[in-house]
Subunit: 682 residues, 3 copies
């Protein structure tokens, strides 16, 4: 359904421009075409333009944009505008406002304020979707649809949602006694005698409840997006695709089930550039936020989108320049946009789409910068994007449908992330709970893979499969850390993966709780203790980073008191209570191996966990070399210099310079540079 090239795209909102600017459609699209931009996303934010009054539609305003795009060979992704409801709808149906907490309506005035389960919302949403898609599906420029936008932004506490939650629990557990037992409701007199007694989420302190509530909310989002996708599929032309753009950190999103309802996974990936792209990352860059803060997070974010369906994917939004509030201005250094674009491509991106063409002159996102700024003139950013456009064109179909090579995959568990947001193991320096504990821990291990010169990947736990041998064949090493929520079957599969020859690296908190978020009443790590050759009864937070012996680096933030049964210790730390204690161990297990890491490793220690070296040897710290295989079986290498100083690296053999042409062995990279190489003869 996608064009046979990597698409360079941009969101385009000519309708936002002040009237005084005049009609810029031709100007803008000419500039795009000149820069090698081959697709635009349109129309997803302006329901009140499509339908200025209840039942009164204006479907023609977009036509000049579609026509002008088509004339220049620029493809169009058409959006459904349901994430921003018009004032007339909110006024006529105040009940569509989401409640957060119960009974307190989110005031209108931004976007995504509604409970998308409300019938009045659904009725109007369906009508406008049918009109827009019905009117424009036959336009030849339209190649696909984006339904809604970054769904799952809030947990709706409205009565209908709560009633559906109770019904869901009843379907799952059957009767309240089963729920009482599963959630441990004897505690603090929480036992229910009837479903009607379930308390509202506002005052909840029960972890099992919270996890069920998060699951339920994510299922609602999946259902909503699935409903829209089916609606569009009824109407679209066969070659047109349907997707939505996901922000993976939204509280009510489970990416694997959600993207299974779409034709292709698509993620919005914003990255904090400038020194954020330096390698090795500065310590402050290990903190996580809504925006990627390091090179490792850039790849991790892309690998998550790749992982959602285990396929090539779209980057539906990324930053052309500074992104964020009026006080967050960080334009990229020269070269960094190129690095980002090739970084996405290397993970399998079929599209790299900037948000957005020009900075806008009003509204909440006034200072989310565009390819053009407020002056609407091409400048430094436009010029660099034109370079990217040229390079993608030259690379042509050779970079389409890339499948990344993975030395080590980290297992991602959305449910564990939710559970550890409610009960985080880590503390901030001042003592407050660190609700980003899950991401902090997983990022620490992922960073180590990259720092070890290996090729990382992400495997969502939903795609673990049920064949341990196949898993071991596909992934020589799996990192499973902070997997707080796991089923018996999943844990058994992981142990069998190692037995079948895989190297299972286990990190802290793994397997600790069951799918109801209850710690398992058995030796920890539950179900994996035997394979790991150890158990622990105690664990603690570390206030200071502690150096380890046996391996380089430090234990940080967390330490489990490992009681070794039959494992080999690899690293120790000095406990302030007096003794030398093992903190990393390893053990042969069947055909494979289980390595146990009882702490959050700093980057040096995280890299030291991997005793195999990468394909490229002697890489400077600033350089990454990652590979992927294209549709015709060629392996491409993407070599980035994440620094302001030029470097030279030796390739593991002569390769073809995909963009520059010719064979290279010695690869010279300038400041903030990237090279794309193909293995084998030209």
């Amino acid at each position: 359904m996608l064009p046979p090239r990597v698409v360079l795209g941009t969101a385009y909102y000519p309708e936002y421009l002040p009237r005084a600017v005049g009609d810029r459609i031709a100007t803008d699209l000419d500039l795009m075409a000149a820069a090698g931009i081959t697709a635009i996303r349109v129309g997803e934010s302006v329901w009140s333009t499509w339908e200025p009054r209840d039942g009164v539609f204006d479907l023609e305003w977009i036509l000049p944009v579609l026509d002008a795009a088509g004339e220049r060979g620029i493809d169009v992704v058409l959006g459904t505008p349901t994430y921003a409801v018009p004032p007339w709808l909110q006024r006529a149906h105040p009940e569509i406002a989401a409640e957060r907490p119960t009974g307190e309506r989110v005031p209108w005035g931004i976007r995504q304020e509604v409970d998308f389960g409300q019938p009045a919302f659904r009725f109007h949403a369906e009508r406008v979707i049918r009109r827009i898609v019905g009117r424009h599906r036959d336009h030849p420029a339209v190649i696909g649809y984006q339904v809604d936008n970054e769904p799952g932004v809030l947990l709706a506490h409205n009565s209908a949602a709560f009633s559906a939650f109770v019904a869901r629990l009843r379907a799952t557990y059957g009767d309240v006694d089963a729920l009482n037992e599963a959630w441990g409701l004897t505690y603090w007199s929480h036992r229910l005698s009837d479903w009607s007694e379930l308390w509202r989420p506002d005052g909840n302190s029960t972890p099992s409840y919270d996890l069920a509530w998060r699951r339920f909310q994510a299922e609602r989002t999946t259902e909503f997006i699935g409903w829209q996708a089916e609606l569009v599929r009824e109407l679209r032309r066969p070659q047109q695709f349907v997707t939505t753009c996901l922000a993976y950190d939204r509280p009510a999103v489970a990416d694997v089930p959600l993207t299974s309802r779409l034709d292709v996974a698509a993620g919005n990936i914003y990255v904090d550039v400038q020194d954020g792209l330096e390698r090795p990352a500065r310590p402050s860059r290990l903190e996580v936020g809504w925006i990627g803060r390091s090179v490792a997070e850039l790849y991790l974010a892309a690998d998550r989108v790749q992982g959602s369906r285990g396929e090539p994917f779209l980057v539906t939004e990324t930053n052309a320049t500074s992104i964020g509030g009026s006080h967050q201005n960080r334009p990229p250094y020269d070269g960094q946009l190129r690095q980002l674009a090739w970084g996405f491509v290397s993970r399998g991106a079929r599209m790299v789409e900037y948000w957005h063409w020009h900075s806008i002159h009003h509204g909440a996102e006034t200072f989310w910068g565009g390819i053009l700024g407020h002056d609407l003139q091409p400048g430094r950013v436009y010029d660099e994007i034109a370079v990217i456009g040229d390079e993608l064109a030259r690379a042509g179909s050779s970079i389409v449908g890339l499948r990344p090579d993975v030395d080590v995959a980290v297992v991602w568990s959305v449910e564990s992330e939710w559970a550890l947001q409610f009960q985080p193991p880590l503390a901030h320096p001042g003592g407050a709970p660190d609700r980003s504990s899950y991401r902090m821990i997983v990022n620490a291990f992922y960073t180590g893979i990259l720092d070890a010169g290996l090729r990382p990947g992400v495997l969502p736990i939903e795609r673990l499969g049920n064949d341990p041998a196949a898993l071991a064949a596909q992934y020589p090493t799996l990192v499973v850390t902070a997997l707080y929520i796991a089923s018996d079957q999943q844990l058994e599969l992981l142990a069998d993966y190692a037995r079948a020859g895989g190297h299972l690296i286990l990190g802290p908190r793994t397997a600790y709780a069951d799918p109801d978020a209850r710690p398992r009443p058995e030796p920890a790590p539950p179900r994996l203790s035997k394979a790991a050759g150890l158990h622990y009864q105690e664990y603690e937070n570390l206030h200071d980073d502690l150096p380890v012996t046996g391996l380089p680096g430090h234990a940080t933030r967390w330490a489990e008191t490992l009681l070794i049964d039959d494992a080999d210790p690899l690293a120790w730390y000095h406990h302030p209570g007096g003794s030398q204690r093992p903190i990393i161990t390893t053990k042969r297990w069947g055909e494979g191996r289980v390595t146990y890491v009882g702490t959050v490793p700093d980057p040096v220690l995280a890299a030291a966990l991997h005793r195999t070296s990468g394909v490229w040897s002697g890489l400077p710290e600033a350089v990454t070399a990652l590979s992927a295989v294209n549709g015709v079986g060629e392996r491409l290498w993407f070599v980035h210099n994440w620094s302001g100083e030029a470097v030279v690296v030796e390739a593991p053999g002569e390769m073809v310079d995909v963009l520059g042409g010719g064979l290279v062995g010695r690869v010279e990279l300038g400041a903030w540079d990237v090279r794309v190489l193909r293995e084998g003869a030209a």
Copy 2:
């Protein structure tokens, strides 16, 4: 009513265990018996188990526990479950939810969400209490009752509470004119012309109102606990005691009146261990929290429970291991649990009861660790508690009913604490008000007593008595600091205490306001200026610690500009405005002495205030030696080494090693060790 030994106890909740674990009652009680645990607390958290539906009771479920305990000689404290109301009650009577603020109900979902003054709550609470106590009072294992749990957690703003508050004011002040005058309501047009005009507490900014509101709320808590105690007393067997477990930092608790309604005072004392128990304390350990953060706070907390009734007491809850949220994991070093237990005993504890037997597998307190962890297996913690059990058994009745020897007592005023929460004198480094000012100041002086090698105590102001000579005979030195709220009679008594031979050490803010929280319009320190031989008109916050001359140490956070009338200055500091200023003075007053401290002393300066040395000389900083006298008049010494390094100290004479046996003069202590010695010949 209590057994003739120090009770080692634990809260025990077999009803919380997942069913899959099976029946562990025999296993658990066998393990307890083996560890020397002689009492359990049961049943106080599970109203919805006792009464699964309105008026439908299950009183038998606890019987196996009572029987199994009785068979093993383990005593039982039975709880009334009123702090955790069942869902069916909250659903039938939503009006019982506490409002905080006015009109906004605390959502159900944790515990203690209710306004315990609500008739619907009282009706159901009385019924369930009568059923539980009536059913089990005759069980031979039951030695006493705990009513409710940590009461006074919130200030209920419900209409009925507010109406009662107005009635209370009317009874106190008679008419609104008296209130207008007493509270200074001319200010900002707050004068009332009728009682109906009194504003709700939500917007209150009047200090006098706030203090009255706090007093009223504490009285409500006292009334509620007293009501429960009377109810139980109607039903209990004569030898059974009634208490509740107090968290002393709850906002609506006044411990002296409250515990006067009980048979014995009982407190929950949690202590942050590991380096928190190092002496001298690290500077960060001087900050206060809900948990004791230093050795000084451990003793201060125990002394407060001792002080509530001036009698031996119970420690109803203390930590066996980490306590707190999922991100607060600090298991004790080897030896520290033993130190804590003997620390409590040395202050007169008749019971040391751990919360709780095993970590639980669900609910808000999943990571509040038990003697057994989630794996339900004995481990390091269990083993250390078994050592304690053995030692307590060996010490037998010799450690029962200890009365601590006190060299210096600090006067505690709950009302001053309340008033200084509303109008704190101290600021945090960033400039925000430090609402813990009262505790920070009192802790500073208490720490100094301990650091001077002296034996501290706590005297609640309600138990000051009215005989200055008796007071001077009992307490050679009294520290009175931050006593912001005091009556004329109390201030007169304090001056007379010094005149009668006592050494009165006055600290900042003392006597500043009257019982309506109004600064007194007279020279400061009001009513004590003449005895102190000085007055002051100005005072200021210090941003930096300032070294003093004349004594070692620093003035911190606060300085009064002392204008000396006829006192002798002991210490000075250099004021940044230019001059050398006295900050500590002393003066003979009658048979005694008044020392005035116009600052918050750092630990060194706080210790230097005491010019007498302790009974044990040459103690290392890490060591404390405190004493108490038992029921037969023997003096026991408790010598703790609060460090990870072994030490040797010289006793002031040969003593009997109570646990080890034999006479000792040179006392060797290992890391985190404690010795119990008895004066005089074996």
Copy 3:
């Protein structure tokens, strides 16, 4: 209307004193007279004393105060008590409570809780004003009136206010299409089809809306104060003045239109003393707060009051000692009060009035210190104020009606301040938006003027006029920075000012947006790019201060990427992305000059912008020398030593020592000293 001397005044509240203190009126007024206090402010806080019940008035209670003042030649400013509504009024008319947010009433219990647009409030306010003024206007001691007190404390969200806002928009924009276009409401489906669809402010995210809402709220405050002023003018005697006391940082105040409704501008100026008055200011002192934190802020605050009407003004409140919460105690060093008083006089203050005579013994402001403290005894502060009283008396009419000499004026824009509170360009170190960005930037430039030894002033943008030549004649240099909101006409005038011979110094963010808060779609700085000889497309936040070359000092917090067209660069910085970039430029423009500063200069760089030196040469950093011209054309110099070390400075010629007498050339200043000199022969 004002007496022919600089008035030394104090707010006086004998009605607040505890009855037990007795009648102190004679005592207090004798003490005032002895200290040279010549005016008191009375009665503005006690509506419930004036009118204890609805319609029942007590107008006589103030008479003893008026009489006693009159007998001693002390003038009286009588207040209207509308800022503190009585409990009976709030109870009878709960609807007068301000809502913040919509539907949530501010609870009663402090003051200024009401929406002053409510009819029930207006009815009662008018009645009590008429009674008070009518009763006392003829008292000979009364010289003027203060209406209300520090108005504009909140943004009322009540329905009536919102309805009036919609009506105001309709009047401004005509129809919703114009509003849709002006505010860019196509964005995120915010287009209105009818006025009734406008959303409430609570959820608003549209910058244009926010600015309109702030404008509207400030207009309401102006209307309210104007209404009161007209009411009083109906009743007053001709010689009596009407003013209000403004806190300039209140969210709903626009000082220029508001003070145009009064007879004289009056401001409350509190200053954090002690090391806050040291020069050069410590870096932490550059942060802004509700209280002035540096010498520069003291002058800036006074210049803002002067600027409101461009006339001499009143300081209606200033601190005699510590001001603030119970934890904020910072009494002045000896001499600092004298420095503050003469600082105010030097800017044209006709009155310096302390808040307040004595500390009060209850209420929210218990620890806002008075000239007398809680003990009601004269002390150090009283003594220093008596010195001030003596000096003002000796200076007599020579210091009345001073017009400050201004070398460099900064342009102040209240609307830009509002807009940059909503969309601040600067970030705090931790990354949070710095909502004080406007003040931080303007303060930086103002500080530079003072540090360069020049004489600063403030020119509100409303008083820019329309004659560029006249402007250039009056102000040789204008600093225009952070002028985010400006009209085309204003920008044209500024360019013409330079063309006419002025030196226009432009700082960051200037001219960026139009009066609807929309960034202008044209090269930046919009409308000034040609005059500045440069443009920029990109800008960024700086995390670290960066040294510049070409001039001394550092660029801080912000940098624009200047693309020079035809300007001369003056300073450069090294961009971390790799290049050397210009950051300050200058260009001849017509008869004058435009200097462009693309950053927030640190004090050293801000001072270096001014290449002319001051009249006094060789001044130590601690010393300021500012001048003003009195009503008979004499120039007075005010020379302050803002340090604890004595200094000697050389005057630019022999001058008369106004207070000491005699001619001086060498001026000796003690610690925290000030001298007043008159140019020319004695």
